[in-house]
Amino acid sequence: MIEDKLLIWKFKRGSSDALCRIYEKYKDNLLRLASALLNDTAATEDIVHDCFVNFAQSSQRLKTSGNLKSYLAASVANRARNWSRARKRREATGLDEVEPIVSSSKRPEQWIIYNEQLKQLNNALEQLSYEQREVIILHLQGGIRFRAIAKLQGVSINTVQSRYRYGLNKLRSILDSEVRL
């Protein structure tokens, strides 16, 4: 946490090195988070890329207080939710074909290299409602507290905790059935 405060302090004062360190420190976490929320390689990569670019341009607006990890995670979550809603609209209007769940072929420029565990987990997570998935991922991977997630989703903390509980139960059941198969 102290390192993050120092990194933000340096970043706000124009340090590219601090920005590089922030990128190295959180890119994996943010890619994992976006990938679990969206289960779409291209969208995940675009969103995390955009999130960092936007962050790089925000040094003057950024406040030194607050948790950097949660800030970046919330930034990715907001973008992911917008993208997810847009995808639903596209699907509803039939404008686009539904994109593959996880790209099986690694494109030359592909950023994420999927392992089997990640693929399996993302596919299981996709069977949850977006809200449940978001609560679970933001809490467990983003390190965001239920109260902050409630604010992000615009619901009560009780609703968030319910979504977490029901979501985990469903996930357990999905993964158990896959193991039995």
Binding site: G14, H49, Q117, L171, V179
Partner: protein, 288 residues
């Protein structure tokens, strides 16, 4: 994947791998966006001689060097005649202009975005050796900058990062560096409309002051709504003993900067060693 009793642990610990080549490409995009953002910030701001003199953060030496060129333009606009000032103030200008070496302290309080930042700088000026500024944060030295005419170099040392930056300075910029600091502020304050504040005792010294309220002086990297600057000089020696400024403006929200410059030691002898950067061996060179 194992059965899901430890599902929370599984989610927390699932790893992801990334392509190093793409990592590098993405990072380059991000750093480029950062650089553009900083250049844009610099381009949309007005050149501020006050800012250069009183608020040199020097975290980006390259930009600072560019701003100095703007300072040269500003000097040509504001400098020159000091007609209309009293004999006393003309003496002050003359004294400060002729001072070969001096030191002073700057303390700054910046209120912005609901936060208050305090910083302190110790500055050393010599017409022979150059200019050195040590920036302190919470009592510890954070950034040191050296303008070295003999080496034609601008060196910045960022101690928390164990890093330094070095930039070559053209002759024209070196000349400008010789003009900045309290020397120029005195000239500036006495060349615009000012109000006489009369006399008062400051730390046991009888001082006479003037006040300027010209927002164009306080122009900085945000629109200024008000600027107040005060200059107090020792009546006996005609050297400045205190400089104060209060800048209020809007920088994506209210911003207030108060600066106090004091602890002057005028026309003293400064050793060449003061202007020797002495960069520790384990510090790395920062890329621009």
């Amino acid at each position: 994947m194992r059965p899901a009793e430890n599902i929370e642990k599984v989610i927390k610990n699932t790893s992801i791998e990334t392509s190093a080549k793409t990592d590098k490409a993405v990072l380059e995009d991000i750093v480029e966006a950062f650089g553009k953002s900083k250049r844009k910030e610099s381009a949309i701001t007005q050149p501020s001689i006050w800012r250069i003199i009183m608020k040199s953060k020097f975290t980006k030496l390259a930009i600072a060097a560019l701003v100095v060129i703007a300072a040269l333009i500003a000097i040509s606009q504001y400098g020159g005649s000091i007609g209309g000032t009293s004999v006393v103030w003309a003496d002050v200008v003359k004294n400060t202009e002729q001072a070969q070496a001096f030191t002073y302290r700057e303390r700054e309080t910046q209120k912005y975005g609901g936060e208050t930042h305090e910083s302190e700088r110790q500055c050393y000026f010599s017409t022979e050796y150059g200019f050195r500024m040590d920036n302190y944060k919470n009592g510890h030295i954070a950034i040191s900058t050296f303008t070295l005419p003999a080496e034609k170099a601008l060196i910045g040392i960022v101690h928390p990062m164990k890093a330094y930056s070095r930039k070559n300075l053209p002759e024209t910029e070196i000349a400008v560096h010789q003009q900045v600091g309290p020397k120029y502020i005195v000239k500036l304050f006495t060349s615009v409309e000012y109000k006489e504040l009369g006399r008062k005792i400051i730390n046991g010294v009888e001082a006479e002051g003037i006040e300027v309220r010209d927002p164009s002086i306080g122009r900085t990297n945000f629109p200024v709504t008000s600027f107040v600057g005060r200059l107090w000089v020792d009546v006996e020696t005609s050297y400045p003993i205190l400089l104060e400024s209060e800048i209020v403006g809007d920088h994506n929200g209210p911003i207030e900067i108060k600066t106090v410059t004091d602890n002057f030691q005028w026309d003293i002898e400064l050793d060449a060693g003061v202007f020797e950067p002495n960069i520790p061996a384990d510090y790395t060179l920062m890329k621009e």
